[in-house]
């Protein structure tokens, strides 16, 4: 898409280019002044020194031989084809002899510097214009003497230098404007690419990403941040969508069974035993549905509510009570059950959620570890002062590729389909971890000969502030 010109002129980059052009112009002007004075100025100063010498020579001739001698000298020198111009005038200003018919500049009592333009007829009869610089003054008893040097060559050189400098200034100005415009176009184009991506995403295509050129510049950085944001959004959308589908799917099965049981009972001739059994089963399905609703609501509240008030949570005490609570279950299932909980572990948090999170991890371990296996619970304060509660088992484990996935809502691995549960346990633990500014990490657990088991580590900061 081609950016429009007026939009281009409004861009920050173009404004910067304008400022840059101004700076270039100012610099060139300063350079010009400097170069002018160090070249043309020097030429004029040299020429003035020579004119001063000439003036002094004639002044001496006047002092030695009076007006007659001076007149003679001036006539002789004016006749020579030299760079000097002469005028000798009476004290009233009437010209005695010289290159001009009238005084180009008025004299003062003391000799002073003059700088004038003139027009005269040269030896070929052509009229020439020129510039001259020299000295004019009154001699003793009043005659006026002017000695000047034609600046002809110097003026030409000065003119050339000035023209070169102006050319440089104008070219510089144009170059900086054009480059500014190009840069602005480039910037506008890349900004436009970002806008286009944003618009495409808004219109529903969440898979669009802004182009990253790999130049590592600020646009790449912006595009990268935008892409990271889009990745996170897409992931959240995906989770929500998956959760929605999963809720629909997971609710459909118990609802269908619920309905079937009632319908089947109604279609049979009345039989109080069979009817009661059907009602009981329907009730179980209803309870399962309610449990799922409750779990989804709780998870949403943990994930979205902002009004949790945290209190002191006695981690050590809670874990030891949970270990005592579940120990009989482990024993009944023929599992080794071991707890290593450090003393006086405390954090700021929600006690109910913390207890439930750890309980979910322990129940998962108990549920999936076959008879003869082991389950261990360890809690330590790490060197970074975070508290790490790890529940390890020697069960079948979870493939590395699935570990992130099973923390999502309703995700249950195929191998877990046969056990009871709705697939929200780990999601809740992960959400509780996030609420406490911590994390849930799944790793290899206890070696069971055939595999590595699973270790779920809940890592929580001592305080969330």
């Amino acid at each position: 898409m081609r950016p429009r010109l007026d939009a281009l002129l409004r861009t920050t980059t173009f404004r910067l280019a304008l400022v840059q052009a101004g700076v270039v112009l100012a610099f060139v002007v300063v350079m010009l002044i400097y170069v002018y004075f160090s070249t043309v100025g020097q030429l004029i100063r040299d020429s003035d020194a020579l004119a001063d010498q000439e003036y002094a020579t004639l002044e001496r001739a006047y002092a030695e031989g009076g007006m007659r001698r001076l007149n003679q000298e001036v006539v002789e020198r004016a006749a020579r084809q030299g760079p000097f111009l002469y005028v000798l005038a009476e004290s009233d200003g009437s010209i005695v002899t010289g290159d001009f018919q009238q005084l180009p500049a008025a004299p003062r009592e003391t000799p002073e510097r003059v700088d004038f333009s003139f027009e005269r007829v040269d030896e070929t009869g052509a009229s020439v214009r020129g510039r001259a610089s020299g000295r004019v003054g009154r001699l003793i008893n009043g005659p006026i003497l002017l000695v000047a040097r034609d600046l002809g060559d110097s003026a030409v050189i000065a003119g050339r230098i000035t023209r070169v400098l102006w050319t440089v200034a104008i070219v510089g100005l144009i170059v900086s404007l054009v480059s500014g415009l190009l840069a602005a176009t480039q910037a506008a184009r890349r900004a436009e690419a970002l806008s286009t991506t944003a618009r495409e995403v808004m219109s529903g295509d969440l898979s669009r990403r802004a182009p990253v050129r790999g130049a590592g510049d600020e646009f790449d950085e912006l595009a990268q941040s935008m892409n990271d944001m889009l990745n996170r959004l897409e992931q959240l959308m995906h989770t929500t969508r998956t959760a929605g589908d999963a809720i629909a799917h997971d609710l459909r099965s118990p609802l269908t069974r619920f309905r079937q049981k009632l319908e089947a009972a109604l279609e049979q001739p009345p039989n109080s035993d069979a009817d009661r059994e059907a009602l009981r089963k329907a009730l179980d399905e209803a309870d399962l549905l309610f449990n799922m609703f409750a779990a989804v609501l709780k998870l949403s509240r943990v994930e979205t509510a902002s009004n949790w008030t945290f209190h002191r949570v006695d981690v050590t005490g809670i874990l030891r009570e949970l270990l005592e609570f579940y120990e009989p279950v482990a024993e009944e299932q023929g599992l080794g059950f071991l707890g290593e909980v450090q003393d006086s572990l405390v954090l700021q948090g929600d006690q109910g959620l913390f207890t439930q999170a750890v309980s979910n991890l322990v129940e998962n371990a108990l549920k999936y570890t076959p008879t003869g296996g082991r389950v261990e619970v360890r809690a330590v304060r790490r060197p970074d002062s975070r508290i790490e509660i790890t529940v390890l088992d020697s069960g079948p484990g979870v493939p590395v590729a699935d570990r992130d996935r099973i923390m999502e809502r309703f995700v249950r691995l195929e191998s877990a389909r046969s056990t009871a549960g709705v697939g929200l346990g780990l999601s809740l633990v992960a959400a509780v971890a996030r609420l406490h500014k911590g994390g849930l990490h799944l790793r290899d657990g206890l070696d069971n000969g055939a595999g590595k088991g699973l270790a779920a580590a809940l890592v929580l900061p001592v305080t969330t502030s």
Binding site: R280, L283, D287, F290, N291, A294, K298, R301, T309, E321, E324, F325, Y326, P328, V329, E332, D350, G352, L353, T355, Q356, S359, E363, L366, K367, A420, G421, G425
Partner: protein, 222 residues
């Protein structure tokens, strides 16, 4: 016993009233908070079952005001809001129990009976159920004069069952009152604790005291 039911959902109220009546209680019903509070102040009820969200006056305010006026009738709050915070708010206002919706009728009936049981007990040092004796001061338990060796948690579990002797207590009630846990375990952990306790108090004795009530929970004696 006499039960006051304050519930604005009339279908729900009719169904609860039928269940409570079937469980041999006399039930009065109020359809809004203000009427409910007046009835609670005037009538002699054994238990009040109070919905949390009521027209005219909220359940939690009613309990607070009743307690402020010296009415100590046990109150059970029913609520669709059963987060930890809401539960604690209800209990702090003076309610004796808090049950989240949806609940099973059996759960409600068991809790109503437990409230009524708890009401008359007051401070006690000894509990006795058939041949089972518990000394709350010495923390000892005997059955037919024979001392039983119980772990602290088993002692508390048995204490709760004895205080509600003859009545059904649900797993949820045990979880809340013995362990102070307010989540639903996905394992049969309560059953395992009960079977351990049963092996200690029943195994060596002829008569079974600790019964499983199918679909509901457990009952000691009766």
């Amino acid at each position: 016993m006499r039960v006051l039911l304050v519930e604005d959902d009339l279908d729900m109220a009719a169904s609860l009233k039928a269940s409570l009546t079937a469980d041999s209680h006399d039930v009065d019903h109020a359809g809004d908070g203000e009427t409910g509070e007046q009835m609670a102040l005037n009538g002699a009820y054994d238990v009040i079952v109070l919905d949390r969200m009521l027209p005219k006056k909220q359940g939690v305010s009613i309990v607070r005001d009743l307690r402020g006026k010296g009415v100590s009738t046990p109150v059970l709050i029913l609520s669709a809001l059963h987060d930890e915070d809401h539960r604690i708010e209800g209990l702090n206002a003076g309610a004796n129990d808090y049950l989240g919706k949806p609940f099973s009728t059996r759960e409600l009936l068991a809790r109503v009976r437990a409230l009524w049981h708890g009401r008359d007990l007051g401070p006690q040092t000894r509990l006795q159920v058939n041949g089972l004796e518990m000394d709350l001061l010495a923390r000892t338990v005997k059955r037919d004069g024979k001392k039983l060796d119980l772990q602290p948690r088993e002692f508390r579990l048995l204490e709760y069952l004895m205080r509600n002797a003859g009545e059904t207590v649900t797993r949820k009630m045990l979880l809340e009152n013995v362990w102070d846990y307010h989540f639903d375990p996905q394992t049969n952990v309560i059953d395992v604790h009960i079977s351990r306790l049963r092996s200690k108090i029943d195994r060596d004795f002829g008569q079974t005291l600790l019964h499983t009530v199918r679909g509901s929970g457990y009952r000691l004696g009766g």
